[in-house]
Amino acid sequence: MLRAESIKVAFGRKLVLRSVDFAAAPGHLTAIVGPNGSGKTTLLRALTGEVGHSGTVTLDGSDIARMKGWELAARRAVLPQSAVLAFPFTVIEVVRMGLSGGTSGGDKSVPGAALRRVGMTGYTDRLYQELSGGEQQRVQLARVLAQVWHPVWQGRARWLLLDEPVASLDIAHQLLVMGIARDFANSGGGVVAVMHDLNLTAMFADAVAVMADGQIIAQGPMAQVMTDDTLSRAYGCGLRVGLPPAAGSTFVLPHTARPIHEMKPEFTAVDPAHSGTPC
């Protein structure tokens, strides 16, 4: 289990996370959704130990603040939102950097396989900086996959922590990347992903945490959390969740959106800043 208890993060005087409790289980894809500035990325950064916070984050019961860098690197890999690179490394060199952190270092076939997995087989010797944003994002995903190539290792689940993994991708590659995350969870690994796309979240996530104004306002199995009520309150915008008759999977239909005050009277935005959102 990846568990966070009473996490508080302040940037200067602004409290970005106000006592957040979060849990993600191995074998599940857990999505964190919420409007801009609700604290999704900050929560993910607290889970990776990247920002200072009060409260504790534990991985299978051990406090990550007490774990060594290489220990953590062997257990979980992190995909950042934007990926810059300082020198002209080639694609395969970037992916190999992931290997050095994980435990699959001896397995020479991993980087090539990881690139193939993200659909970038022909790109090995291209310079990373010459690729498009979406291609760079997929190379970074390959690097992260190479780090935790086997979702279960020594009987313990390994983790993928993804910050908006599909942000700069076209629809086909969005499906590819979410499929990779899904497979990783199906094979016993744990996945936590910060998501903007509610439809992809509904399609691929097992569990969802909905954030608004630095708090988690709902957390649990996808179908129980992604409801008209919760999403409308979180986004400050009257949203209606529907099921397509054929496939039977949950999706959010932006076509039915309307101002929140036209919704049921008990619907109010959690963060007053969002209540004026025109939709």
């Binding site: 953590l72 395969i92 087989t121 010797d125 094979s187």
Partner: protein
């Protein structure tokens, strides 16, 4: 997830590694050749081959041969090798740490601090108690330069480190401020200096290997060698730093330790190099840059290759410095700048279309 066996992709990807390994062999050969050159050429017409022939036949060398070859050219060649290697490696480490191809050891205040130390020693040295001057003798300027360089780096490191974390950006900015301050103090001392001191200052600033002796070598080389060897272990970490500090940490690199070791090795090796040879520019920027263009930015290959190329380059520049206007000699800093700057510009012009260097 299935791990696809895919050896074909791996062999393509290894290409730059293979080139880098071949380059290393080539550079070792070049270094050996420049060393022989440096031993064979000089203002005195003493022949290396003549001396070797004598040794091979069990004859003793003349005093002239012994002094020129063993006491002058040999330490000078070795000093050139170690100073060149340390400047090039320090440049490569700084560029990796600051994630910027234009970084050089000057950024951590070594140059400014060492310069101030040397100027203090040259201008104010005479004011020190005689016993103190006798204790240090000819070493006063070198010792002051080393202490100045090392001290200013420690100061910068203190300023940039808060609760166990060093901010590279703060270090860069504080380095600029400290450099300006050291420059102002140096300017004041230059203003106070007399003609002879001004001449000494100018020569120190341009750098020279002429002062190389076995005694200086024995002090400087262990420091430089230790630093270069320590830097050799930073390759993997510096590669990861290219992805950003946070990602380097996620990959399992001990980022804070990496920064500490990088800054300390650069301060020690550059401090020692500047102390014995004065200010020698361009090696720290040109060498890693040339190698990155040739064999890619992988620091595991770049660092050893930079040491070899830096060493060859400085020995070569020194041979030119002492042959070109023999029996007088040019300051080596002039040679490295005259050779380095046009080559550098030419590379930049030719490669202008390329993405971020």
């Amino acid at each position: 997830m299935v791990a696809f066996p895919d050896s074909a992709i791996e062999t393509i990807g290894r290409d730059r590694d293979i080139v880098a390994r071949r380059t290393r062999l080539l550079l070792i050969t070049v270094l050996a050749a420049t060393c022989i050159f440096s031993l064979a050429f000089g203002a005195a017409g003493t022949s290396l081959w003549g001396a070797l022939y004598k040794l091979a036949n069990g004859q003793t060398l003349s005093d002239m041969e012994r002094i020129v070859l063993w006491d002058i050219r040999a330490p000078r060649t070795l000093m050139g090798a170690f100073v060149g290697a340390s400047l090039a490696v320090a440049g490569a480490v700084m560029q990796g740490l600051f994630r910027n191809p234009l970084a050089d050891p000057g950024l951590v205040g070594v140059g400014a601090g060492a310069g101030l130390g040397a100027i203090c020693a040259i201008v104010l040295g005479a004011l020190l108690p005689a016993a103190f001057i006798n204790l240090f003798g000819n070493w006063l300027v070198s010792a002051a330069a080393f202490l100045g360089g090392w001290g200013s780096t420690l100061l910068l490191y203190r300023v940039a480190t808060r609760s166990g974390r060093t901010s590279v950006a703060t270090m860069l900015l504080a380095g600029i401020a400290l450099g300006a301050l050291a420059g102002a103090l140096s300017g004041l001392l230059v203003y106070m200096a007399d003609d002879r001191q001004l001449r000494d200052l100018t020569f120190w600033g341009l750098g020279s290997l002429a002062g190389a002796t076995w005694a200086k070598l024995f002090v400087a080389v262990p420091l430089i060698l230790l630093s270069i060897c320590a830097a050799g272990f930073l390759g993997r970490g510096l590669n990861a730093m290219a992805l950003g500090e946070a990602t380097a940490h996620h990959i399992g690199i001990p980022v804070q330790r990496l920064k500490t070791v990088a800054v300390m090795t650069v301060a020690a090796s550059t401090g020692a190099a500047v102390a014995v040879a004065g200010g020698i520019g361009f090696v720290g920027i040109v060498v890693p840059h040339l190698l990155r263009l040739a064999t890619g930015p992988d620091h595991r290959m770049l660092l050893p290759n930079a040491a070899l190329l830096g060493a060859s380059l400085l020995i070569g520049a020194d041979v030119i410095a002492r042959v070109v206007i023999a029996p007088a000699e040019l300051p080596i800093g002039i040679v490295t700048a005259v050779l380095g700057a046009p080559v550098f510009l030419w590379i930049l012009l030719r490669r202008r279309g390329l993405v971020d260097l």
